[in-house]
């Protein structure tokens, strides 16, 4: 008798009985930036406020899926980092709440994000989209360095370009939306299909192409320039190009989850993450994004947004579900299976 009980009861007892502690000065953070940056943020916040932070790193897609699934009884208080689109989706679905943070010192693109979302999400950093090529591979194969988006259709790059699939990657969706805003929809798709002839693989993850370019698995990659700077500064032979036609950018964001259990600490976190002193430290962990507070210091290696020709990226339009679905299904039809050179 007793042994049988052991199985049934232990399992059930175990199962239902352990609940996390929610004391007053605690904060649960899901972080969608790089691990080392997340660690730095947590350490700084704990030191400054004494709040005990529990942090887990998840990619933006995973974080959004979890916030959605937990919406009735959220276990996360604040979602920090990661590209702005999913934060905007969360805001429009009512999954996040306004933080009421003061935005006077923030740069335009950051305030813009806050305005679109009724204050539910705020921009913390920005990074421009760009090209990178492996200089060793390029000279070995006697290829010319690309300078513009349109250079990529050149047949000399056949099988040498790698970019992510916009169906799975926010980075690649930003690229798609940038092309549409730069060239108009029809021309954008024909250009993408032409570039597609040279693409060797549409990767799942947005940061994969640049890593492949760094290691020489592909010659040219499309992705965010701050990722490329980080790879180049860690020793890979990558050269970064800001395309001559101009380019789009992402804005990383922070949001407080709706029904957060530790609202006060969450607000402190948002305040802390916009503080110039905090933002200026990001370079310590090789995060070369441009910080959103005008008083923060920008790392010299960071891609200088002032010298890059940036388009006036329309987050409201291209972040909306309708536009997104339309563009993606057209991408599937026109670009995905385009014949290769």
């Amino acid at each position: 008798m007793k042994k049988r009980t052991a199985l049934g009861i232990t399992l059930f007892g175990l199962a239902v009985h352990s609940q996390a502690v929610f004391a007053a000065e605690e904060l649960n953070v899901v972080c969608s930036a790089e691990q080392s940056w997340c660690d730095l943020m947590v350490a700084g916040f704990e030191e400054q406020t004494g709040v005990e932070v529990a942090m887990v790193r998840k990619s933006t897609g995973e974080a959004l899926a979890q916030v959605r699934a937990e919406s009735k009884n959220p276990k996360i208080d604040v979602w920090w980092g990661g590209t702005g689109d999913p934060h905007l989706i969360a805001a429009s679905e009512g999954l996040t709440q306004a933080s009421g943070v003061d935005t006077t010192d923030l740069l335009g693109w950051s305030v813009n994000l806050s305005n679109i979302s009724d204050g539910k999400t705020v921009g913390i950093y920005a990074g421009a989209l760009g090209l990178a090529y492996n200089s060793e591979l390029l000279s070995e194969k006697n290829m010319k360095a690309p300078a513009c988006w349109k250079d990529l259709v050149d047949v000399q790059y056949a099988g040498e370009i790698q970019v992510a699939n916009p169906n799975s990657s926010g980075t690649a969706y930003t690229e798609l939306a940038t092309f549409v805003q730069l060239f108009g929809e029809d021309e954008a798709f024909s250009l993408l299909a032409d570039i597609g002839k040279n693409v060797n693989q549409y990767t799942k993850s947005g940061s994969a192409p640049s890593k492949a370019a760094g290691r020489g698995e592909t010659a040219i990659s499309i992705g965010f320039m701050h990722d490329m700077v980080k790879l180049a500064s860690s020793g890979f032979p990558l050269v970064i190009v800001a395309p001559c036609e101009g380019t789009g950018y992402e804005v990383g964001a922070v949001s407080i989850i709706d029904k957060a259990k530790n609202l006060e600490s969450a607000k402190k976190w948002v305040q802390y993450s916009l503080d110039p002193a905090t933002q200026s430290r990001s370079v310590e962990v090789g995060a070369y994004q441009v910080p959103s507070n005008s008083k923060s210091t920008v790392a010299p290696e960071s891609p200088d947004l002032a010298t890059i020709k940036l388009i006036d990226y329309d987050f409201a339009t291209y972040g909306s579900t309708d536009t997104r679905e339309r563009l993606l299904s057209r991408w599937d039809a026109d670009v995905k299976n385009a014949p290769k050179n």
Binding site: M1, K3, R4, T5, L7, G8, I9, T10, L11, G13, L14, A15, V16, H17, S18, Q19, A20, F22, N28, V29, E34, Q35, D39, A54, V56, R57, K58, S59, G61, E62, A65, Q66, R68, A69, E70, K72, N73, K75, I76, I89, G159, N167, S168, S169, G170, A172, N200, Q201, Y202, K204, S207, G214, R215, E217, T218, G235, F236, R324, L328, N337
Partner: protein, 736 residues
């Protein structure tokens, strides 16, 4: 029967009257609930009814009281059984209904009935008291069912079946139902079948365009092709290794065994990364063959070939673990009988030994097939444009267009494939008997392999083992170089940043990986024994007992294995985030997810091993007066040494290395190693990922050796040496 019923009634009453009804915020193991005996903050059901007018808790308690009355009444066995069944069904029904009716913050159903009452504020999830009450109802039910049967019905067996069904129901069917419902969601938020069918059968999923011209096949077709190839490949390799390990006098068996176990303890992505560094366009082998033979550097690795190669590397060990128990178990007396009748070694092998290994072959293939279908890490790293269901499902959930409904439909497709494979396996095994461990005396010499087969085995296994070894050397090497694949200067910084310790001011673990490392080990060591126990008990019930709905029962235990981890992860969040069962954010949810995901391996291994044990062993034990429980413990369990070991090792290792299910279940307080590693890989910090993986591999190796010591080796026969004609005289002398 009355005594047992009384015991369970008292157990339930303790839960209802003394222990806290609701889940506690600081957890069971804080033992603050002990104070509940006096502290009003942790009220039992009885206190809740009396003092806080939680009248909806009355009916279950009334049912419990009715149970007490029933055993007091002078009634026949049948009458009492019926009463117990009625009482327990009603009681558990009331507990479940109230749990779902009143949610965390407000009532969910019966709104008009509950309006304005104390239910308006909602209630937390079920706690220890509620669990005890439900358990008592469950066992009263099984006692009742046993009482209705003729003859000496076995309460232990029925209780066991009841327990497993309940657990599988709560932790497999309940969450999965949440996700499957979304498969039938229509675009406007309603439910309907038409969209489901059009999506299920769509050409995007089942397309066959790759057969004509240069089109692309649908992920379902790709998955089936890959899984079949992997299933066949791993089974053959597993058989080869098992034959070498048991039927030859190969000298480096031990080394071979370690090599076959290595891939199973390797965290995801690592094999893929190593393959890229060997065979990628900038890989070592590619560079050499370019320099030496002028073979053009190409990207052949990305796509089917790469995924297939890495899956063979990853899953051969599972086939090996299943096969070795079975190959060992084939009784020498059968083989000797065959040889006495002048069959050659080759004939004996193909016509006696091999058919007797069928359960092993079938189970190994099924595991390989399903593992390949559900595999997520390898296709993600090496898949290129070769899309399979598991990755499609993942990106349907987390991609730029998050569409849970599409993910659920693809999940159904995957499930269909698994069911088909499962039925196919059943058909192939048929109804033959594979029992060869009979308890009768036999001489204990398995026949050796004929030399052709032996060399064929060596030719396959040795190059494969060398290849595996090279891949692992690359991995270890990678953890010590600065920038893997580019700057190959020696460094220790990856290890220091992950597992650094500082000694000043006491020992401090400053490395960034310590937290997740310790959590991972804790969770894996709790989950492993529970998983093995659950899996083997289920196998015992399946092999040794006959009951209605057995096939369905068997399939349901395989279900969670068949469903892709990502879907399991999401379904657990959906099901266990709100009362009545609130588990998200705890370590418990990870343990449970691992238990029910990895249990099928224990079940398959247990079934394969147990179908070799002749039923006369059980019967002998029962005849001598032992009950089922004693028989299981004293006769069956000791003969299942390898199966227990395999189940323990597998569940421990899987808890450490699985990634797709845990991605959604890890929380800030309970982060797992794989989720940490995946983050580093995403970031291109390969050195750190590899260093962490190396530490995990060493940890798991140590754990496996420890387990092997604890479980010990089963001794089927006095002497298990392999027969070998040249050495026969020596063997005979040794036997004397």
């Amino acid at each position: 029967m009355k005594n047992k019923s009384l015991l369970w009634l008292l157990f339930g009453a303790t839960g209802a009257c003394l222990l806290p009804w609701y889940a506690l915020e600081d957890g069971f193991w804080a033992f603050t609930w002990i104070r509940s005996l006096s502290d009003p903050e942790y009220p039992s059901a009885l206190v809740l009814i009396l003092e806080q007018s939680h009248w909806w808790l009355m009916p279950p308690l009334v049912a419990l009281v009715a149970g007490f009355i029933a055993i007091m009444l002078p009634m026949g066995r049948k009458g009492l059984s019926r009463m117990l069944i009625a009482v327990s069904l009603l009681g558990s029904f009331f507990v479940i209904v109230q749990g779902f009716a009143i949610g965390l913050n407000e009532p969910k159903i019966f709104l008009s009935l509950l309006e304005g009452s104390s239910a308006a504020n909602g209630q937390p999830g079920l706690g220890v008291g509620a669990i005890m009450l439900i358990a008592s109802f469950l066992y009263l039910l099984t006692i009742g069912i046993a009482g209705l049967k003729k003859g000496t019905a076995d309460i232990f067996i029925i209780g066991l079946i009841g327990t497993i069904i309940t657990l599988v129901g709560v932790f497999v069917f309940f969450p999965i139902a949440h996700v499957l419902i979304t498969a039938f969601e229509t675009a406007d938020g309603g439910y309907g079948a038409s969209r489901f069918f059009s999506r299920y059968f769509s050409g995007e999923v089942w397309g066959l365009n790759c057969l004509v011209g240069d089109g692309v096949c649908g992920p379902a077709i790709n998955s089936v092709f890959l899984a079949t190839m992997t299933g066949v490949g791993t089974t053959l390799l597993g058989l080869t290794f098992a034959l070498i390990a048991t039927r030859t006098r190969f000298r480096a068996k031990r080394l071979l065994r370690i090599l076959t176990v290595l891939p199973i303890i390797t965290p995801p992505f690592v094999i893929g990364l190593a393959l890229i560094l060997l065979f990628g366009r900038a890989g070592v082998v590619t560079e050499w063959s370019y320099a030496l033979f002028d073979i053009e550097k190409s990207r052949w690795l990305y796509g089917f070939t790469g995924v297939y190669l890495s899956q063979l590397l990853s899953f051969t060990p599972i086939a090996f673990l299943v096969m070795i128990g079975v190959v060992e178990g084939v009784s020498p007396s059968m083989e000797e009988a065959s040889q006495t009748m002048r069959a050659t070694q080759w004939q004996t092998f193909t016509q006696v030994s091999l058919p007797l290994m069928r359960p092993g072959l079938a189970n190994a293939f099924l595991l390989g097939f399903i593992e390949s279908l559900a595999d997520f890490g390898n296709p993600l790293v090496l898949g290129g444009d070769f899309s399979v269901l598991s990755t499609e499902i993942y990106f349907a959930i987390v991609g730029a267009v998050a569409d849970t409904s599409r993910a659920a439909v693809l999940g159904m497709v995957l499930l269909t494939l698994t069911i088909t494979a499962f039925l196919f396996q059943r058909w192939w095994l048929g109804k033959k008997s594979y029992a060869t461990v009979t308890g009768k005396a036999d001489s204990g010499q398995n026949s050796g392999l004929n030399s052709g087969l032996k060399w064929a085995c060596y030719l396959v296994a040795i190059p494969w083992a060398v290849f595996t070894a090279i891949v692992y050397c690359m991995i270890v090497y990678g953890s010590f170089v600065k920038l893997w694949g580019y700057d190959n200067s020696f460094t220790l910084e990856h290890y220091i940043s992950t597992f650094g310790v500082k000694t000043e001011g006491g020992l401090r673990f400053v490395g960034s990986a310590w937290d997740s490392y310790i959590t991972t080990l804790q969770i894996a060591s709790i989950a492993a024994p529970l998983t093995a126990l659950l899996g083997l008990l289920t196998a015992y019930v399946l092999v040794r007992q006959r009951f209605a709905g057995k096939d369905l029962f068997e399939f349901s235990t395989m279900l969670s294995f068949a469903i892709p981890g990502t879907v399991v992860g999401i379904s657990y969040i959906l099901a266990f985030n709100v009362p009545p069962i609130e588990l998200t954010g705890t370590g418990i949810i990870l343990i449970i997810a691992f238990m029910f995901r990895n249990m099928p391996v224990g079940v398959r291994g247990g079934i394969a091993a147990m179908s070799q044990l002749d039923k006369s062993l059980d019967e002998a034990s029962i005849t001598l007066g032992a009950n089922s429980f004693t028989t299981l413990r004293r006769v069956i369990a000791p003969l299942l040494g390898p199966a227990i070991l395999a189940a323990l090792i597998y569940s421990f290792v899987r808890a450490i290395t699985s990634v797709s299910a845990v991605i959604f279940l890890v929380s800030a307080k309970h982060n797992m190693a794989t989720s940490f590693i995946v983050g580093r890989v995403e970031n291109g910090e390969f050195g750190i990922a590899i260093a962490y993986s190396t530490v995990l591999i060493i940890t798991m190796l140590a754990a496996i050796l420890l387990l092997q010591l604890i479980v010990g080796k089963r001794k089927l026969r006095k002497d298990t040496r392999v027969q070998n004609t040249e050495n026969k005289t020596r063997l005979v002398q040794a036997n004397i």
